[in-house]
């Protein structure tokens, strides 16, 4: 899932300071699970912002609510009136949610309340870690199910660098060395031969390096007939 962190209150206050009516919109998906932009976090932020705004002598109105999934147009459209009534929308979703609102209502100013950090997983309560970079060419079947592109600081493909120290990464000795972990996993699976393979240069064109990616699935698109039917039902 997407992991995000709330921006500092001061930064948020500065972004919304010029505006009177501030609508805060959270999201019940990834950012709720990572405790950054769900129901509770929106409530907390709205209360904190009201207080801060008052203390700093501004006349502002804050209103907050939460969508099911802010990155999907259908959910966003359901609260169209609230978005249109606002001077500024403070998105408490990942950047995808914020951009979905912005793309649907281009005349509206949308500001990000969160920093979108990574594709990651909750490791334990209060700990999230990065595990994928979305490179578009998954190879984890050859690396014991562990992604070296995301989990190695240097995205190495041919085993650990010379800085792997007691199984930890030279960049941060608190973090495991991905290739050490891969080695141990493959050893456990009796597949260490995979460590011997020389992996040639990676094809990065499937990643962001190949330009912005748009995936089109013709088989999944609606036919003109289906589109008309959907419009009629609305």
């Amino acid at each position: 899932m997407i992991i995000a962190e709330r921006k500092p209150l001061g930064e948020i206050a500065m972004m919304v300071a010029p505006h009177e009516k501030v609508t805060v919109i959270g999201c019940r998906s990834c950012v709720a699970i990572c405790l950054a932009g769900g129901e509770k976090e929106v409530d907390t932020l709205v209360s904190a912002m009201k207080l801060k705004s008052m203390n700093e002598g501004r006349t502002q109105y804050f209103d907050g609510f939460v969508l099911e999934r802010q990155c999907e147009k259908e959910w966003v459209k359901e609260v169209e009136d609230k978005i249109l009534a606002a001077d500024v929308v403070l998105s408490m979703s990942c950047s995808l949610g914020a951009q979905t609102i912005g793309d649907l209502y281009p005349e509206k100013i949308v500001v990000p309340g969160l920093n979108t950090a990574m594709f990651g997983v909750p490791e334990e309560q209060g700990v999230w870690s990065e595990k994928c970079l979305g490179c578009g060419d998954c190879i984890i079947h050859t690396t014991g199910g562990i992604c070296p592109i995301a989990r190695c600081a240097k995205s190495m493909l041919n085993g650990p660098c010379g800085g792997s120290s007691n199984g930890h990464c030279e960049v941060n000795l608190e973090i495991e060395c991905a290739w050490y972990a891969i080695y141990e996993r493959l050893k456990l699976q009796d597949r260490l031969d995979l460590m011997d393979t020389v992996r040639p240069p990676k094809e990065w064109s499937t990643s962001h390096s190949g330009g912005r990616r748009v995936i089109v699935r013709e088989d999944a698109k609606l036919t003109p007939h289906q589109i008309r039917g959907k419009e009629a039902s609305l």
């Binding site: 240097k154 085993g159 010379g162 792997s164 050490y180």
Partner: protein, 306 residues
């Protein structure tokens, strides 16, 4: 002969080789390079020019090579994958070859969080193995990584680094094997302080016959103080410095002299290990000691191979 460099000639002739490291300055003033080149001339078969080592911005390794070549000294340019993608790496390699550089050391590179440009975007398009793989294809087939075939192939003597002291230890000889399979003609190891561990790694290297396929140059670092030894033990990931070495440095009445003696003793031991074809002296910020160390180790004069 692949490139006909002096280093290649010495190693292929079966002589015990010596390489040493020169760290380029942080400014555009070439004087320190010229100074070190003149001072160290004749004490090693080729000199490594580091590539923004520890991710600190310095005069480029290729420009440094050009500068020391004016002093009639042979360079080994280090090329890391940290700062350049495959377009820049291949372009710089062709450029280096065009100005007469033959020895190239392929490295993944220290991460930029160690250096003075922590806000940098990291590249790591290649790792050291895919870099070697690509450079080897360029020199043997004229094949660039994108598929373009060029007529004039660069003549290169390719090297790599390997660290026997990084984890997992049992994988370290395999990693060298991958580099050898990808085209490494020589390897310069991480600095060796734990001889027992190095010998274990060499056992594994010899059992795989890697010492017959590549030339292993064992790395040494002369230390000035006990503090430096402690620092390397505690702060440099992937370095092992046994306590007895730190003790010896601490108890010495003259730490600098003890550091030199220790380094010379290490070279003497390394000379006796089967499969070790040379030493690589990394006298970081202490380059002026290289001629003395090499002489004390009985490695002067350097051989001339036609």
């Amino acid at each position: 002969m692949k490139a006909g460099s002096n280093l290649e000639k010495v190693l292929e002739a079966g002589k015990f080789a010596v390489t040493a490291e020169i760290g380029p300055p942080q400014s555009s003033n070439p004087e320190p390079l010229t100074h070190h080149a003149r001072m160290m001339k004749g004490s090693a078969d080729a000199f490594n020019l580091t590539d923004n080592q520890t991710a600190v911005v310095r005069l480029s390794s290729i420009a440094s090579a050009a500068i020391i070549m004016r002093e009639d000294i042979e360079p080994v340019i280090q090329m890391t994958c940290r700062d350049r993608n495959r377009i820049a790496l291949q372009s710089d390699l062709l450029g280096a070859s065009a100005i007469g550089v033959k020895n190239v050391l392929c490295l993944t590179g220290d991460h930029q969080t160690f250096g003075n440009e922590r806000a940098a975007k990291s590249v790591f398009d290649f790792d050291s193995v895919s870099e070697l793989y690509t450079f080897d294809k360029l020199r043997t087939e004229g094949l660039q990584s994108g598929g373009t075939v060029i007529d004039d192939k660069p003549e290169l003597y390719l090297g790599c680094a390997e660290n026997p002291f990084a984890t997992p230890y049992e994988f370290r000889a395999t990693r060298l094997a991958k580099k050898v399979d990808s085209g490494a003609d020589f390897v310069q190891t991480q600095a060796i302080f734990d001889m027992d561990m190095f010998e274990k790694w060499m056992d594994e290297v010899r059992s795989r016959g890697l010492d017959k396929k590549t030339h292993i140059l064992a790395g040494v670092i002369p230390m000035k103080t006990a503090g430096a030894a402690r620092y390397m033990k505690n702060k440099v990931p992937g370095m092992i410095v046994p306590d007895y070495i730190i003790e010896r440095m601490r108890n010495a009445s003259d730490a600098k002299e003890e550091g030199i003696r220790l380094c010379v003793e290490q070279i003497e031991t390394l000379k006796t290990i089967k499969g070790v074809h040379g030493v690589h002296v990394m006298a970081v910020m202490w380059e002026e000691m290289v001629p003395r160390i090499v002489e004390m180790a009985g490695l002067l004069p350097r051989p001339t191979v036609k």
